[in-house]
Amino acid sequence: MKFMLALLRRAATADIAAARLTAVRMLVQPAVYLFVFGHVVGGMLPAQNGGYAGIMAPGIVAISLITGPFVTVGGGVISGYYFRTMEEWLLAPVSLRAILAALVFGGLCYGLIGGAVVAALVWAILGLAPQNAGYMALTATVGALLFSLFTLVVLLVPETPDKGQEVFSFLMMPMTFFGCTFYSYDMLGAPFSYLALMLPTTYIAEGLRAAYRPDSPHMEAGMVLAGLSLAAAVLVPLADWAFRRRFRDFTW
């Protein structure tokens, strides 16, 4: 637990040192998205089921939930590779699983903080607040957790994380754009509706959409939870395997 908190504190210290960059990433970028696509473009589009702003705002929260873990976990692994800080963590008197848990915990916290900041921006810019806070908290927590694990898997399965970065860039774009962040699942026809079911972002965005506007069309809660559970069932053992395989023998 001490190591977990120390690693989280280290990420916060690094972010405070780069406060301007952190503010741009966590505050300015989502604010611009919400203002342009939600307020300006959303205002131009004909109102349907509460308007476009109500459809895309939960998607922007979902994007922040997945970019937080990517920046924190991915940044840790990548700088750990280039600057050898991973070696520093591996030399700490804790088990490999404790280091894995600490990285995932950091990603989860950053995902949730990023999601909470964007949720506040959604309320301030678009006047939207979640109707079901419990469902939102559950979806957000599982979503941030999944993307912490996903980031580790993508960066650690290849021999070196620089190769993982390429894979990540290749995966993130379709994850974001085909994963129902900028539109709802019910707006998709085949074959895109089938493709979207394979992306965890779909379940996160749809879960948040349901939490924000329970009266508008969204994926059933059972389906969202099944999708998130399935992703967790795959990613938890995969991340554990990838992490132990890569660091049981530290050859970077």
């Binding site: 280290r10 600057f83 050898r84 800080t85 520093e88 030399l91 008197p93 530290f250």
Partner: protein, 248 residues
Amino acid sequence: MAAVSADNVAFVYPSGVKAVEGLSICVRHGEVYGLLGLNGAGKTSVIKMLATLLRPTSGSIRIFDLDTMERPAEIKRRIGVVPQENNLDTYLDVRQNLIFHCRYAGMAKKIYAPLVDEWLALLGLEGKATESVLRLSGGTKRKAMLAKAFLTGPELLILDEPTAGLDPDVRALLWDRVGEFRRNGGTVFLSTHYLEEAERLCDRIGILHSGRVVAEGTVADLAHWAGQASAQQGGVAAAFRRAVGGCL
């Protein structure tokens, strides 16, 4: 009970490269043991195995009678490591690097805060405490690495070429600190390719060549092995030349 004991250890990288073969060494408590070898002899692989970062492919290593494969966390609590390459956190300044090193080890603030100040002063790093590590010279980075190794109060220091590429004054400072650690009962395992460093610091020296210890002993033993009548200056160099043969 030995501080370090390796029994018939081999390490083969996943690529199939044999880095260490049939390594058996025993380092006693309070001893400074030096591993000498050319680049690529396998010194870093040995150091990484001692630090629990690599698992022996065969054989076993025990640190304070604890198996490195079975109880790595307990071992890491009792060792201080200076790896060959610096692993300072580039997002933090020098003081923060030392503080977080202690936090990762689970130390309480009231314990580590005075120690960090003490080590910054001992190594002449007070003026660099708030400097980003990206702006530090190689010597200053190495001093910060050394401070990290000492901060957690290790019983065994594992140093991988700690003075490679350093100015003579920084090298002398490091030697002083290692000497002080040893006088206080600490054990040191160091790898180096500086013969002078090994001769000056070490009680016993092992010469590693192609992953095997080909000669081992005190400076006098090595001089004798090399065919010199007494442990005169240059005995280690003669032994080294004999051990690595045509590779020099």
